[in-house]
Amino acid sequence: MSLLSKTKEAYGSHRNNGKGRFHSAIRAPFTGLKGAVKGRVKQEYQKGIDAGRRPIFAGATAVPAATKNYLVEKKDNLARDHAALGFVFFALLINFLFERYFPITRFNGFSLEFFKNTIFGGNWAGIYNIFHFNIYFLVIVFAIFNLRDRKPHTLRVWLSLILVTYLLSSIPILNTYMGMRNIIEFFMLFFTAIYLTFAKEVTWDDFMATITLFWVFYNLWAFGVTATLGGIIHFIFVVLFYLTFCMGKAFWEDRTQIKWWLLIIILFDFVLPEFFDVMYPNLPIATLPFLTFGVLLFAQVYQPSSITMFLIILFVAFYFFQATVAGGSFRDFINQRQADDAKFEDRKNPFSPAYWKDMMMKMMNQSLYYGSGQDYYASQVDENAKKRLGVYIDGLGKNPKEYYDNEEIVIDATLTAQNFVSEGEGEIAEPINIKLGCSAYQSNKEKEKGKIYPKKEFTIESYDVENIQCVFEPWQLEKGSYEIRLNAEFNFKTQAYLKRYFVAKETIDSLRRKQLIKKDTDILKLNDITDINPLVKNSVAPVQLKASDKIPVVIKLSSQVTTSHLFGLQLENSWKGKIEKIENIQFFLPEHIEIEKGRCTPFHMEKSLAPEAEGYSLFQMVYMNNPRLKNIERSVEQRCWILIKPENRDNILQPGDVTTRYFRMIADYTYGLEEKLKINVREEKGFSVRIASTDSKVLDSSSYVSCIVKNDEDIGDTVICTLFADSNEPESISTFCSDDTCKCDFFRPTDRKYPRGTSLRCDAKVEKKEYFSSAYAEVKNSPPEIKNIRMSQDSVRKGENIICSVDASDVDNDNIIVQFDFEGLNIASTQKECMGSCSVEIPTSNAIETTTLKCTAMAIDGKGDKSKELTAKAKVTVEAQNE
């Protein structure tokens, strides 16, 4: 019975004897221990009597001896049962904690280059010497001489030590190969003699395992494992392992087998990393925790448990996954011998669900792209970028989900916007202009528009946080489930940069011919550059720029011919929204690098005459009216050809092999962000009334007023509706209502509608049934209306002006501004004050080819309400020029 069980039993016994809980708990461990060792005390007492001691002395020593033996046995059992697991966790600590956070403790095995060259060079003498086979064979000879009868004789051991040390070393042929070479080798022999003399049991198998292990330790030391802190830690680990398992009493019987296991662990940790690195250069070998893996295998074989099994499965699954994804695409990522920080980051990834999701997506995306023959674009958000740039709508989830149809539905949210900080003194970054809107959707169709408070438009210079509300009027939303979509349209930009390396073509060719490099990126390793596959780095923004994998990392510049490369960029929507329109794309290329004229698709780009950043040339988009620039849900690509002329090569290359330069890209766009919230709208129970427009959804100054009465069951009686409008005389209408719903329509004899701002109250009652209800409403502003739009001509020739005219009106007699937008020609939008009619004159001289010119007009009144858009078209003809 275990000590714990004995203690529990003792506790129970004390309690049964009437002792208190505290008293029993204090005494129980001692009583339990006493019970556990009771049997042993008798044995120890008997041993003492048998040894000739007096009973009193035998009795006095029996208890301490029994207790000590019991505890030692317990300790041995604990060690026997859990030591291997303990070492697994020790190895995990080294591989995943120390080496992750303290780069100085990293150790990645020995480089086998030297051994490889020696072996393949046929330098057998060198191999013999490197591995110090001399001392190994010396010890074996020593052992053979002394272990013939499996019982070393002391005189023979020490005599043979002298023989081996001196005589063997003097024999001319033998001394070259078996002579002792240094004091350490002498001590190895000396301690072998000590071991043979004093060891209780010496078997040939155990002796061979022991000397092999010590020979390996000696070689590890000779190879310089102690040159680095990481090496020292790993060396200490294997030494501690030896002391625990190979010398510990708990493992005495298995010591020989464990020693061979230790050799395997040493092989794993000190030799395999480089071996696999050479065999499988595409795998992230540097991140594999060989030490942990080796010890895990040992633990699973020697002390199997569910923990070790689980860890093995976890490791194999994770690294199998990683190897599968690595495939060919990690070819240029991996650093052969000295993994940099980023690679050691991977050790913590198994514990991150986001990592697994990202890995799966990458795997799917890559195979999709390669399968379809498209380019694969890649980028990353710059981890050093400032966070929270952009516009965010937060807090939607905190709103209630249930509302009544007769109450105002108010959805609260927080609008946060952070802009770029201006570049320098006197420069002002473009402010962010945000337009807000909200709507209620059912089955993906817009049902009702809500109103935004306090205002629909914001202008943010640097940083702002605003509380906003989306409000639906009472009864605007009928009973049902809705998805409220709060959207923000704002202008923003993404700044990105891409690092690339420039090298003289002759340098690469020369190094290849000399087989100093196998691929172009190897020149980076020769120059100690670890960032061998830099991706585009983006600022935090809803649109991310990604570079095509067709842009080589190392760009070779020829002195004879023009170097040209495809420069492909993808603008990808990475937030939950839509790119409403791309306003501009700018490339800042290092000086003396050009974009080939006319070779950008789909958006034409030209060198800009605007002031450039020092050391850069600016190329930007022209012709902003391409339809591909609008309403981008996922992504759009831009491809150009970059040229470097041979005469410009020396202007780009710096002294040295590799010149590092950056390509900078900026994309300006309007982004539509959307956040969603699902709500339920319920009907109020019982008799109720509401005020509504007779003919439209919104009760505004262009509406007739109705009072709509509702009940849970059929009314079947006369309903009297009384309408109060400001301080005017109330009007009453009676109507018989047979159903559960009926309307009281208030049409004035003169058909006059109520002006904007009129406060209305409607009382409804059914006298006999004593039903009564009131409703309140305010007459809203009516949006302006564009009655018609027309072009002065259906067709014009290039160079002739054309007039776009509209007729607009507003029931509230508000001042109207009409916004004119144009498509088909590169003409900026314009706004005009419009009382009744207005027009704009459109020049057509910049038409390049025959096109259809569209003029779209929208009226906006002083309250911010807008009319529907109307469009008119005309044809602009461009005649071919005679040569």
Partner: protein, 329 residues
């Protein structure tokens, strides 16, 4: 343990510690011609990893010549990311000087009796950082320094010239001819690892010719370059494949016989520069026919001195972080 066993052990210890050869001479030139390192460069600990934008950082390098040869007119070429960083100037000792494009030229003595650890100097590059984009908290930039220098490897060993390979002479040979295999280098990154010796018959039956095959290996991580063009290679000017892997045999001499690249030729050596094969370089030197050694000259021991010349290129780099001013305020 009984007294008898203890006595045996104690006697053994006395015997073992009492006997033994006296230590070999120390502090001779064998110490200086050991090892495989030549120029060793590293950043000092006080070189900071972080600097603010539009700030200044000192990149301090310690250059040590721990090989056996002196370095004359070595070149140090810095390579920085000019979009974010530029070298303003250097703080250098007297035996260094600057050339165009912030390149340094230097001399460093190797190990000798007076400089047992070789000469060491410290240079500091004063680096200015430029403004970084406001969207970024910090940028990582790599400073790369390439060093190219001419160097030599000298092997000095005793060989046995066997004038009677058939063993026809009655006289007892005083030594035995064998190949030279070295471990541990000669105090230079290019190690002469082996010298094979062969006796080949002369036209005259009473003379012999000696042939040496000399093998060398690159024991360090640098690149072997042409010692006549090492500066151009470092600067990246007009590089061709013939600029790499050029090891010249400057001289070989034993007894009264000599080969020197400047024209003194008792011995024919080819190929020179050494030819590369399987990561080794070799050349074969044969005593000329007219210089055959008569068989009447008894087998004798003599020093063999071999000197190789080459250029060597190493690189040292450091990552720094350029911080945005905003994160400090």
């Amino acid at each position: 343990m009984n007294k008898k066993n203890l006595a045996i052990i104690l006697i053994s210890i006395i015997v073992l510690t009492g006997c033994g050869s006296s230590p070999k001479d120390t502090l001779d030139d064998i110490e200086f011609h050991k090892g495989t390192k030549g120029l060793v460069v590293e950043f000092t600990k006080n070189t900071l990893d972080e600097v603010v934008e539009e700030g200044r950082i000192y990149a301090t390098l310690e250059l040590k010549n721990i090989g056996a040869s002196d370095i004359k007119e070595g070149i140090l070429v810095p390579s920085v990311e000019q979009d974010y960083v530029e070298i303003d100037s250097w703080k250098i000792p007297d035996n260094f000087r600057t050339a165009r494009d912030n390149v340094l030229l230097f001399n460093l003595k190797g190990k000798s009796l007076s400089l047992q650890k070789g000469e060491k100097q410290i240079v500091s590059a004063i680096i200015n950082t430029k403004k970084i984009e406001d969207t970024r908290n910090k940028i990582e930039s790599t400073l790369v320094f390439n060093m190219c220098y001419p160097y030599s490897t000298i092997l000095s060993e005793t060989i046995c010239i066997d004038t009677d390979p058939e063993g026809l002479s009655v006289a007892k040979k005083t030594c035995e001819s064998k190949d030279i295999t070295t471990m541990g280098g000669q105090g230079a990154p290019i190690s002469i690892t082996k010298v094979e010796q062969k006796v080949i018959p002369s036209i005259s039956s009473d003379a012999v010719r000696i042939q040496f095959t000399i093998y060398a290996e690159n024991k360090e991580d640098g690149i072997i370059i042409d010692d006549n063009r090492y500066q151009q290679v470092c600067l990246g000017e007009g590089i061709t494949k013939d600029d790499y892997d050029v090891i010249r045999l400057k001289s070989i001499r034993f007894s009264d016989y000599e080969y020197d690249i400047s024209g003194y030729e008792d011995i024919e050596c080819s190929p020179n520069p050494l030819k590369e094969t399987k990561n080794k370089y070799y050349t074969i030197c044969t005593l000329k026919e007219e210089n055959s050694i008569p068989k009447s000259k008894f087998t004798f021991e003599t020093p063999l001195i071999v000197e190789l010349l080459y250029g060597y290129k190493i690189t040292e780099s450091k990552k720094i972080e350029i911080l945005n001013n905003d994160i400090l305020t």
